[in-house]
């Protein structure tokens, strides 16, 4: 297969098309406009629907309507637009609609900037809207992975009747790499919930209002049970953790820089391992737990003021020290900066946790 040279945003759109996405709704925002623009060219050719909405609010509700009919549908946006969609995210989760949302995030808070940032980690993984709910969140680190994970997102969304978010950023969205756009065979799941017209059956209802005694609790317990079941989908990239005194953790596009620093340190003989969560929710705790020992230290590197570090701390559960190397959104760090911090971490005396 001849590789294509495409941007991350285009790889996401191609992954969605390969997975059989039939409807795209969105509102323009930098740095993700390649997604709607590619969809506007390609979807109508394939008998699908492209519709530019009057706002992100409208776009995400069009997504809700399309998803409720059992059709594969998506939207994409960037940080401020994702914030605007937050109320409906809660409804998508409550109605258990399979829908795919892409956040090519940018710097915040407020208007912030349009550079790469990982400041939306909390928003993506903890639920931006109201109530107890989660999206399943996938975080690609390469153009190829952006394609693969987007395609997978549609299967996971249907498998769990669950909204899925692809969380990436301007760095991955805007850079070009070769992509092998392999053919994808979408999985099929029963859709006995979809609103397709009550032909020969009673009307179906998709609702989230539960006023009867105990109803809402039961509803929430059911959702939580599903979120626990989704743990079987957790994925992470790991290397060099055996005998490592320091494990460097990062996610998404930043790992391209982090990995280079880790590899340099390893080539120089430093006992450094690497752990990259690919699913951000559910968080891949089971990759962390066996590595959490008093003699091991974790260094979490993020392109924000420190968000994933909280999940790492929960995952290691006080059994190892966790440090943060945070780069608030602006310029990107160099591998050298991270490499220097790795060396500094290793020079520190062994953890006080050891006794």
């Amino acid at each position: 297969m001849k590789p294509l040279l495409v941007k991350g945003s285009e790889a996401i759109a191609l992954g969605a098309l390969a997975a059989g996405c039939r409807c795209y709704f969105g509102y323009p925002i930098t740095p993700q406009n390649e997604i709607p623009e590619l969809m506007a060219r390609e979807l109508p050719k394939r008998g699908g629907v492209f519709l530019q909405a009057e706002s992100e609010l409208a776009a995400v509700n069009m997504l809700l309507g399309a998803a409720s009919t059992g059709v594969r549908a998506m939207t994409s946006s960037s940080s401020p637009g994702i914030s605007l969609m937050a109320e409906t995210f809660s409804y998508l989760a409550a109605l258990e609609l399979p829908a795919v949302v892409v956040n090519v995030s940018r710097g915040g808070p407020g208007l912030g900037g349009i550079e790469a940032s990982q400041g939306d980690y909390f928003q993506a993984t903890k639920g931006a809207g109201h109530g107890d709910y989660h999206f399943l969140v996938l975080s690609p680190a390469s153009i190829q992975e952006a394609y693969e994970l987007t395609a997978r997102a549609f299967d996971l969304a249907e498998k769990y009747r669950q909204p899925v978010m692809i969380l990436t950023d301007a760095l991955l969205g805007q850079m070009k790499e070769p992509l092998k756009a392999r053919k994808i065979k979408p999985r099929t799941y029963p859709k006995d919930w979809a609103l397709t017209g009550a032909r020969g059956r009673p009307g179906r209802i998709l609702r989230s209002l539960y006023l009867g005694p105990g109803e809402l609790r039961a509803r929430n317990e059911l959702l939580q049970k599903k979120y626990r079941a989704m743990r079987r989908e957790v994925r992470a990239e790991v290397f060099g953790t055996e005998g490592a005194q320091l494990i460097v953790c990062a996610f998404g596009s930043l790992t391209r820089i982090v990995k280079e620093a880790v590899q340099k340190a390893r080539e120089e003989g430093y006992p450094v391992g690497y752990l990259r969560p690919i699913t951000l929710f559910p968080f891949p705790e089971r990759y962390f737990a066996p590595l959490a020992r008093p003699e091991t230290r974790f260094l979490v590197v993020e392109l924000n003021c420190g968000q994933m570090v909280e999940d790492v701390k929960l995952a290691v559960c006080g059994k190892a020290e966790v440090e943060l190397l945070a780069f608030p959104p602006s310029d990107l760090p160099t591998p050298e900066e991270i490499y220097q911090r790795i060396k500094k971490c290793l020079r520190k005396p062994r953890s006080s946790l050891r006794s």
């Binding site: 609010l57 069009m62 309507g65 998803a67 549908a73 409906t88 009550a198 209802i205 609702r207």
Partner: protein, 245 residues
């Protein structure tokens, strides 16, 4: 003795309405059910239950129904209709849902000429939350948040949504109706039928606004409420504003 089917629309579920005495939702529901039945579209119907007194739409209609967040029914209806054009999609919204929080989605769906049918129950107040000011509260009308009456210096004048929508080329049928007299009930049903035909014949956006009574929040009894609807007609004329059939 007439058969049950003749007096009770098959599209309605046999369940008592939760609406207050004298509320017009019940009549609007019945008309909608009759029109769906008579047009033979029950098996293609897709309804959106919006936030407000009619959020329990799905308890009463035996058709596929999805809930939409407050104000977003026309956007969700757009998504459903575009995804499956064979569905006959309708929204059922109040004046707060359609014309306040959801005005953007409502107007843009109409401007695009979405092949959907939007029903707006205009009772000039927020019914479910206890009778607050709405975009269609008339000048001088007392509500819980305009205890001295709506002051146009402070809140401006009520919005005449049917008149606004009629100016959109994408709107194929647009009418304001009332159900406070038997004659008007029959006219309202005919308007609903035409608003669905606009969709079924692929002509454009169909809109029917019901000028409706809310005796509880108007602090009237049901009979007085019928008379008050007549007063509201001065601000909200009953009319077919547009019919491109």
């Amino acid at each position: 003795m007439p058969k049950k089917a003749q007096i009770f629309p098959s599209v309605l579920r046999e369940r008592p309405f939760h609406y207050c005495p004298g509320c017009h939702h019940g009549i609007a529901h019945r008309l909608l059910a009759e029109v769906i039945e008579e047009l033979g579209i029950r098996e293609r119907a897709y309804g959106l239950a919006s936030i407000g007194c009619a959020c329990f739409l799905y308890y009463y209609f035996d058709v596929d129904i999805c809930e939409a967040p407050h104000g977003r029914s026309c956007a969700a209806a757009t998504g459903a209709k575009r995804a499956r054009p064979d569905l006959v999609v309708f929204t059922y919204q109040g004046d707060g849902d359609f014309a306040a929080i959801g005005l953007g989605e409502s107007l843009h769906a109409a401007a695009r000429g979405e092949r959907i049918t939007a029903i707006m129950i205009n009772n000039t107040v927020y019914g479910m939350t206890g009778g607050q000011l709405s975009p269609t509260t008339v000048v001088g009308q007392r509500t819980t948040t305009t205890p001295q009456g709506r002051d146009p210096q402070h809140y401006g004048h009520p919005m005449q949504i049917a008149e606004i929508l009629a100016s959109f080329p994408g709107v194929a049928f647009c009418a304001r109706v009332a159900v406070n007299t038997p004659k008007r009930v029959l006219e309202a049903k005919e308007a609903l039928r035409k608003a669905f035909l606009a969709q079924l014949e692929d002509r454009g956006f169909g809109y029917v606004e019901f000028l409706s009574a809310c005796p509880i929040n108007w602090k009237t009894d049901p009979v007085e409420a019928l008379e008050k609807v007549d007063e509201l007609v001065e601000t909200f004329p009953l009319k077919i504003f547009k019919d491109l059939s």
